[in-house]
Amino acid sequence: MTDTSTAAPAAWSRARRRAKEARDEEFTAFVEAAGTRLRRSAYLMCRDWHLAQDLTQHTLAKMYAAWDRVRTKASVEAYSRRVLMNVVFDQQSRRSGSEIVLADLPDRAGGEPAGAPELRVTLVDALARLDVRDRAVLVLRHAEDHSVETVASILGLSVSAVKMRNARALERLRTLLGDEFRQLCG
């Protein structure tokens, strides 16, 4: 390999710099528009704001590294969710022991009274007890309001698989969260 960059004419170098500036500007605009929602979804997936920030940054970094290709996609937003969920799944499989922390949370059967407020299982805690892909379905479908079809394409699942996972995960949330949630979900 010869290094052409040292021999590059100044004009080429300037054009390259301008292209980078334009790319950075466009990418920054995307982060400003989508970054907060992406980070919040990451939080719902991992229950930790610091980790959520790392996962989001990593997601955005991967997108930036391929921005020239990514920017031409029909939906950069949907693509960003696909990259995020892949990053989350990878992180999850790497730290698959971490969910044990939650193992002593009781499953609350229907008729049981709710415990003291500080003992109540929050939505985020309950989400953490779901299969990570079921959790992704709930977050994309209900926190982000994507259609079943969009969720399916983001996660690379069939529409029926998304519906099945959605129903199963909602049922599990009802069990974990008890009456209050049951009323909300009908």
């Binding site: 919040r40 939080y43 719902l44 930036y64 590294a65 391929a66 921005w67 499989s93 309001d145």
Partner: protein
């Protein structure tokens, strides 16, 4: 129902400590730039494939003058997943597999694995990566790090078969079959879209 549920999700993120999007964008661009430079190097080297450190390979720290970040031979030989695939290997449900033979695998064992992967209808595509080409790519990729290049020769790289499965559901069965074959040292799986390089590794 969905409206209520949506409200619950909104409440759940109410504790958002906040983060300036500009800071997030800058951090992502810095990290993304590093990924990009690394990948450009890979492309220039001919879609280089980094090869997994096979079994008995010693992990040696390079001299400190190699500069930050410190690079170990094992890390440098680790396969880089293709950018569109899962970052980390997956244990199940992989769409793509990289089957590494041991460095001591015989030609007969290699031929048997080759016949097995070509004859298996659950495998849609096969690419063979020889230890020589794996080594060449390693040399090109790490051309700016002569200590690293000098520390390792082609015999320390394994041959590998890169596979794309017809269906991810068959991952476990295909892996089990190939892992049982003599000469197979390690199998690494990734989830990849169809446009990724076969095997999921660069």
């Amino acid at each position: 129902m969905d409206g209520h549920l949506r409200d619950r999700f909104d409440e759940a993120v109410a504790g958002d400590p906040g983060l300036a999007p500009g800071a997030l964008a800058r951090a992502a661009m810095a990290e993304g730039g590093r990924i990009r430079r690394r990948r450009t190097g890979l492309t220039a080297a001919g879609a280089a494939v980094l090869v997994v450190a096979a079994g008995g390979l010693a992990v040696a720290n390079l001299p400190r003058d190699a500069g930050p970040p410190p690079v170990t031979i094992a890390a440098a030989m680790l396969p880089a997943p293709a950018s569109s695939c899962s970052v980390e290997p997956v244990e199940e449900g992989a769409t793509d597999l990289a089957v590494f033979l041991g460095t001591a695998a015989t030609e007969r064992q290699r031929a048997a694995v080759e016949a097995a992967v070509h004859g298996d209808t659950r495998i849609g595509a096969v690419v063979f990566e020889s230890r020589q080409s794996a080594h060449q790519r390693f040399v090109s990729l790490w051309a700016d790090n002569p200590e690293l290049v000098a520390a390792i020769d082609a015999s320390q790289f394994p041959d590998s078969f890169r596979l794309r499965l017809v269906a991810a559901e068959q991952d476990a069965a295909v892996r089990a079959r190939l892992a049982a074959m003599p000469g197979v040292e390690q199998i690494i799986g990734h989830r990849c879209p169809v446009d990724a390089p076969v095997g999921g590794l660069w």
